[in-house]
């Protein structure tokens, strides 16, 4: 009994199409994020996250139209991230049908923006995305730093302190990606997840590195994550959402299975 941990499939979207490709069992790659989200919704996903990797204005408009189409077909929460810099960007996405927006580099260049956004739209819809890398040596205490530009650019900001500061500014949730693990399929950096989860009062979504179902369970049990996010293991039909949730539930994790 109680609040379930959430399982969130993530889609990378460019110009309104899913880029990394998604292949469900026996279904050809549709590429349409709305169609793919609808399938995840039916399969029992607890939320959907879109990462818009589009750079152009034209692409942004396509994204808004995509989010708008989602509203008539997907009835679980939707988080949209990528390139959000202005209050106007947030308003447009929420009006199109997004439930939450994920802010990354704009928070780093202008932390006040987070406070402004939370005051205007409410903390419940402001997610702060943190991309962190471990910077401490083998003999040192763990320390993670925030990196931007896909992990290439160091900022010198301590990830745990940053999460706490963003929460104080009004962030309602943290989307935490380990840049060391992202794409490696070796599991979450659970020491990082746990450090951030214990340092903040808001829910933390673990991201980066999922290669099998035990990794998802470990994110909750070891990392103390409130939600776990994964992309490729679901997109290519390696595992179904249902399978993942049942696997986690079998380890005593509260999941939504109805």
């Amino acid at each position: 009994m109680g609040l379930a941990k959430r399982l969130i499939p993530c889609l990378d979207v460019d110009q309104g199409r899913v880029v990394k490709g998604v292949k469900f069992e026996n279904i050809r790659d549709a590429g349409d994020p709305v169609e793919i989200s609808r399938r995840y919704d039916e399969a029992g996903a607890d939320e959907i996250t879109f990462l818009d990797i589009t750079a152009s204005h034209e692409g942004r408009d396509i994204m808004l139209a995509t989010v708008e189409r989602m509203a008539s077909q997907v009835f679980i929460p939707l988080t949209v991230g990528g390139g959000i810099r202005k209050i106007e960007d947030i308003r447009n996405l929420l009006n199109a049908g997004a439930d939450k927006v994920s802010i990354n580099s704009a928070a780093i260049s202008n932390p006040e923006f987070v406070g402004e956004a939370a005051a205007r739209f409410g903390s419940q819809c402001i997610v702060i995305a943190i991309d962190a890398k471990k910077v401490s040596g083998p003999q040192e205490a763990d320390r993670w730093e925030i990196f931007t530009h896909g992990g290439r650019k160091a900022t010198g900001i301590n990830a745990v302190e940053w999460a706490r500061r963003m929460t104080d500014m009004g962030a309602g949730e943290i989307l935490l990606t380990s840049m060391d693990r992202d794409g490696t399929k070796t599991g979450f950096d659970n020491a990082l997840v746990r450090a951030v989860s214990e340092a903040t009062s808001v829910p933390v979504i673990a991201s980066g590195g999922v290669g099998n179902l035990q990794h998802l369970a470990d994110g909750v049990r070891i990392g103390k994550a409130d939600a776990v996010l994964a992309a490729s293991i679901f997109h290519f039909g390696e595992y179904s959402i249902r399978q993942a949730k049942e696997y986690m539930a079998a380890q005593g994790i509260e999941m939504r299975l109805d």
Binding site: A71, F75, S123, Q124, G172
Partner: protein, 220 residues
């Protein structure tokens, strides 16, 4: 003529999800509106709400919709969602204290910074995600929805009713709180049915069919 459902739009956030969800589950004409006449003429009225309660209260007062709500809430099936439920209460602790509409005898309280779970683990606030709702009474809006089904919540404040008999559904997050309240033709929920997939859509469908009456109550 087709039935109409008015979703009150007082300038707070996105109402597309709610209107699309109703369109999915019924044939009624769904009107997202701030027009008092449209709200008065509608067969059913929905009061949604996201964000902070003070902004929501300002929103409906600025447009004079608070008076329309007081009027229609005595006359037809009425559904409050999230802050739309909280606004029906007397008072909220949010925003250093904020008076609400006072239509139902209850208050809105903060979960607190030291909220503990069953195993004394520290709980995160906001309460965000899918939690179980225990149906405390039989009600037409629960038709076809399994007991203890999960709905999607996102909130930091919760409703406490003076009279336990008005609680239609209970949820536990640190404290037990009112996830749904019911009185006569009024039903209000803390969760987001428009984001709660099958169970949520079933509730919205039930509301679209509800005549606003409640059969003699049987407590579970």
């Amino acid at each position: 003529m087709a039935e109409t459902i008015a979703i009150i739009d007082y300038g707070m956030g996105n109402l597309k999800s709610a209107s699309k969800a109703f369109e999915k589950v019924c044939d009624a004409k769904v009107l997202v509106t701030a027009d008092p006449d449209v709200i008065r003429r509608a067969d059913r009225v929905v009061l949604p709400g996201v964000g902070a309660i003070r902004d929501c209260m300002h929103g409906i007062q600025r447009l004079g919709i608070d008076q329309v709500v007081r009027e229609v809430i005595t006359q037809k099936p009425f559904l409050g969602i999230c802050i739309g439920m909280q606004m029906l209460m007397r008072h909220s602790e949010e925003n250093d204290g904020c008076d609400a509409l006072g239509i139902l005898a209850g208050d809105v309280k903060y979960f607190g910074d030291d909220l503990l779970g069953e195993r004394l683990e520290k709980l995160k606030v906001p309460h965000m995600g899918w939690n179980q709702v225990h149906q405390a009474i039989e009600h037409p809006l629960w038709n076809g929805i399994p007991q203890d089904a999960r709905f999607y919540f996102v909130h930091s404040y919760y409703v406490h009713m003076d009279d336990e008999k008005l609680v239609a559904g209970r949820c536990v997050y640190g404290n037990e709180f009112a996830a749904a309240v019911a009185r006569d033709n009024i039903f209000a929920v803390q969760f987001h049915p428009e984001k709660s997939q099958h169970a949520g859509l079933a509730l919205l469908g039930n509301f679209a069919r509800w005549d606003g009456t409640v059969p003699a109550k049987k407590v579970h």
